[in-house]
């Protein structure tokens, strides 16, 4: 069990029309580490993400982020606490420029309030700061050349990068990535991996959902396994990926996973 948890959830239960989607008794996400949330399709990973971030409401359950109870908060309040998520299907703001996408990532802009909108004095300074920071982050993600292009014109992988870059505008403490590698062309995979590892170096906590076991093994410090809405195992990648229960859960649900071969490699 991790000694210092940033996110602690207890008794989170969600069902849709009688079918249980999530039934998590207890889970803790270690601070400053990269945690992978894995499990077969339909295990409830995305639903759990939605619940934790306020996009969906559970029938019952409590959870806290950095000691603050979060359940019941609307998603934007959760995000403002420093718990930022991305989506499985990338959600870039297509008909806005890449730079505008980045500016919207910032939550320090007082000009976003209607009463300040016409008072340039109130928001111009923050605007300059945000633009500077946006360009810095874009440069890190090698998107600085695209700053003035419409986001809809980016490739799938660039969108993933932009979404991650945008999430960093607020200097979040916890970054939650829903399948960051899905639909990314292999050439970009390595750079994405590097960026995720870099988040940890910068002191952030990462929680990500992933199917690619290579990535889990290479990147994660801690692995949480879900199946049929429950958490069936957690631990270090080595211990979890060799667990019979995990293998059964995967093979029972879908057999095209590369888990078996991975474990044989290990042996």
């Amino acid at each position: 069990m991790p000694s210092d948890a940033i996110l602690i959830a207890d008794g989170v239960h969600r069902h849709f029309a009688g079918v249980t989607a999530v039934d998590v008794e207890h889970v803790e996400i270690p601070r400053g580490r990269i945690t992978a949330l894995i499990g077969p399709n339909g295990a409830g990973k995305t639903t759990f993400f939605n619940l934790l971030t306020g996009f969906d409401r559970p029938q019952r359950g409590t959870w806290s982020f950095d000691g603050t109870p979060v359940q019941g908060l609307p998603p934007y309040r959760v995000a403002r606490l420093g718990m930022v998520r991305t989506f499985q299907l990338t959600k870039v703001l297509g008909r806005l420029t890449v730079l505008d996408n980045m500016l919207l990532g910032s939550n320090r802009q007082p000009g976003e309030r209607l009463r300040n909108a016409l008072l340039g004095v109130v928001w111009k300074k923050q605007d300059r700061t945000d633009r500077e920071r946006a360009r810095e982050i874009l440069a890190r993600f090698k998107l600085d050349g695209k700053a003035d292009d419409y986001a809809a014109g980016l490739s799938g992988g660039q969108r993933k990068l932009l979404e991650m870059a945008r999430a960093l505008m607020n200097e979040p403490t916890l970054v939650m990535l829903d399948e960051p590698m899905a639909g990314v062309n292999p050439a970009l995979t390595q750079s994405l991996l590097g960026h995720i590892a870099d988040l940890r170096e910068r002191g952030m906590t990462v929680l990500f959902v992933e199917h690619d076991m290579h990535m889990v093994r290479n990147l994660a410090d801690w692995v949480v396994v879900m199946a049929a809405g429950r958490i069936i195992a957690e631990g270090t990648p080595e211990s979890v990926l060799s667990s019979e229960a995990v293998v059964d859960a995967y093979l029972g649900a879908h057999h095209d996973t590369d888990l078996r071969s991975l474990i044989e490699e290990d042996a």
Binding site: F16, T46, N50, F55, F87, D178
Partner: protein, 409 residues
Amino acid sequence: MALALLLAVLAPAGAAHAAPGDDQWGFRGLVRDGERKPVTGAAVAVESDGEVVGTDVTDARGRWEILGLAGPGTYTVVVKTGGKTYEVEKELVRSGTTLPVQNLVMSTSDAPAVQASLGDKLAQRAVSGLNLGLLIAIAAIGLSLVFGTSRFTNFAHGENVTFGGIMGYVFASLAHLPLLLAAAAATVAGAAFGYLQDLGFWRPLRRKGVSLVTLMIASIGAALALRSLFQFLYGNGTRSLTREDWGTVRLGPVVMPATSYVAMGISVAVLVAVGVWLKRGRIGKATRAVANNPALAGASGIDVDRVTRIVWVLSGGLAALSGVLLGVFNQVSYDMGFNLLLLMFAAVILGGLGTAFGTLAGAIVVGLCTEILVLWIPADMKYVGGLAVLVAVLLVRPQGLFGRQARIG
């Protein structure tokens, strides 16, 4: 009214008759007895605020006419014959859609000229409401199926209803087909209209990959174009769909034209048929599968395009049938469908977007509310009742009575 006053339901005057000069406000009517024979020599007076503003005596065919009234307002039509007095309150409304002259058919068959009890009025209204609800359901199920299969809210669906009403009028009143045959012909025409809309318009747009909001805007454009075209071709008038008169039927306190009962029968039969088809039929099941998850349905070998096409044909046909029945229940006008559209939305939302069976229940609730509330709200605000129900439902239960919540992400 206990006196069987079939107001403007089966107006004796056809289109040619009901074309007075502009701004001629007034009433025109027919008085007849229990055997449906004209009553000659009955004294007719129109009163406003207790003052007589016009009088006439029925002619050999039982007809009378009082024109040249001051304008819109509430009038009392008083008929005296055989030592008895019959009264009815009637409103003349300037709505841009109805003629300033109203047709009234009055019968002496149900003589007691006393105030009906609230219970009787309620029963009468409830049956009308059921009738309205059923024909909203027929039209709305098409709307709901189209929404289900292509996630597209069609604001031009009301025009399909109007199309049916006008085709019904063309076949019944102009081509002099028997009413039932005219209804069938109009339904077929409506189905063809639906097919053509999908083929020539919506399918190319879907292929082009335009967004749903764009489709919605395109549908208001199409609605405006079609409605104005109907207005151009058909005119501003409000006409009876048919001159056929099947008489009235009395069931307890409820007096309705026989055609209304037939219409209800047809509605129920059609709704059951559609229901069974959706549950049992091969294409029907495919339709539900597409509504549940188009991508999955497509992947499992269902021809989504074909299903969508069939849904459009069905939707056009049902809407046209509904238009014919509405034309029999009320009258035919160029904006009859647009007025019904909002009640259809109310029904669809009440039942939960995209669920056919919910839509039926929603439609009946909306129909009943619309008709029953007329007991307490002015007749020219009739549709407000149904729309208010819509708004109220959204406040309390936005996913509808039978809807599900969707998942994000």
